[in-house]
Amino acid sequence: MEVINAKKAADLITNNSSLMIGGFLGVGTPENIISEIIELKREGLVVIGNDTSFVDKGIGRLIAEKLVKKVITSHIGTNPETQKQMISDECEVELTPQGTLAEKIRAAGVGLGGIYTPTGVGTTVEDGKEVREIDGVKYLFESPLSADFALLKAKRADYKGNLEYNLTARNFNPIMALAGKTVIVEVEEIVPIGSIDPNNVHTPSVLVDYIVVGGNK
């Protein structure tokens, strides 16, 4: 694990990279890293995240700056820019049920070849997917979903990279920590090893490549 600044983090990301970005309507999203990606104008990004937040927050800012060519997400309703770019073909939007999105990411992170879920059976989500009946119930096959980078937000890290999330800012962050090839975490503070009670470590340091100390954003 290496401690870097937000600019260096953004510098690791090349054009056309795929990014998993933690957060739920911007809560638990690494805003400082996003600001630097915008500053460096990294383009053609594929973004995976729960929602596209708001025009001026989190993932929503990357969309508004037209840096995203495709987004895989469950909800775009709070960001009119996403729908606008979807209709004008500037940004491809793949809508995925929230629980399915979580399990697709988790599957990639835990070494599974996908999952069978009842969610979406008989709806447009089923299109093009295998349907399998198990004990009389229909399930859809959903493939695993990984990314070049996981960009996460935690409350604090220690100098090993152990992470503690805060309240509902946890959301997708811990599962994305398993599914990103390179894991970069923005934290509000970095504390000495041992300062976080082992009971409160939500993501172990072994999954973390870089820590950015980003302040209370």
């Binding site: 929602d51 309703g77 049920p97 979406g120 059976v121």
Partner: protein, 216 residues
């Protein structure tokens, strides 16, 4: 009385002591204000908690404690937080007693459509598909029509949220229970007649002899 309040009051009567409940954004959120005395329920929120409380008073907001609509929330004693995979394990895994969602259309089969209007409004399904698929009881709370256009229809022409039959539809006019035989009118609001309901519904309604007064 405001239609939304009327709907929320009736939905609240469906909550039973000890239920784990997920309320959708908008109208369903109002249900928290009308929970009957003596009934204690626990609220689950998709973004990762069980035990969500009311909105905080000014000055008590925490940027890391929000509801699924992104509004500031509070935690009741005994609350806990978890990640999104666990949140949907509760939802999809059949551990959630009741979900209350809004609706754009519900049809004679009890199928709900509530996540997009093609070419017009595409918010996305968020957690709705998992909630309708996995909750033990699904209640649709919505205004009876969209500015006069019936929302209860023969067959949804909007994309479905799930092919699971919802359990109850509550509007300002009436309470309808989708059954294998069709939509059964269970209760009617005091200020409406059966004909009012029929005239504002584009689906066949089964009307038993003992239609009750709504909320009684």
């Amino acid at each position: 009385m405001d239609n939304k309040i009327k709907i929320a009051q009736r939905v609240a009567q469906e909550l039973k002591d000890g239920d784990l409940v997920n309320l959708g954004i908008g109208l369903p959120t109002l249900v928290t204000n009308y929970i009957p005395d003596g009934v204690e329920v626990t609220f689950q929120s998709e973004n990762g908690m069980v035990g969500m409380g009311r909105s905080p008073e000014e000055g008590f907001e925490n940027k890391d404690l929000t509801n699924a609509g992104g509004m500031y929330a509070t935690a009741n004693p005994g609350a806990m937080y978890f990640d999104s995979a666990f949140s949907f394990a509760l939802i999809r895994g059949g551990h959630l007693d009741i979900t209350v969602l809004g609706g754009l259309q519900v049809d004679e089969k009890g199928h709900l459509a509530n996540w997009m209007v093609p070419g017009k409004k595409i918010p996305g399904m968020g957690g709705a598909m998992d909630l309708v698929t996995g909750a033990k009881k699904v209640i649709v709370s919505m205004t009876h029509t969209a500015k006069g256009t019936p929302k209860i229809v023969k067959e949804c022409d909007l994309p479905l949220t799930s092919i699971r039959k919802v359990d109850l539809i509550v509007t300002e006019m009436c309470v309808i229970e989708p059954t294998d035989e069709g939509l059964v009118l269970k209760e009617i609001a005091a200020d409406y007649t059966v004909d009012d309901v029929k005239n504002n519904t584009a689906a066949h309604l089964i009307i038993p002899e003992d239609v009750k007064m709504m909320g009684e």
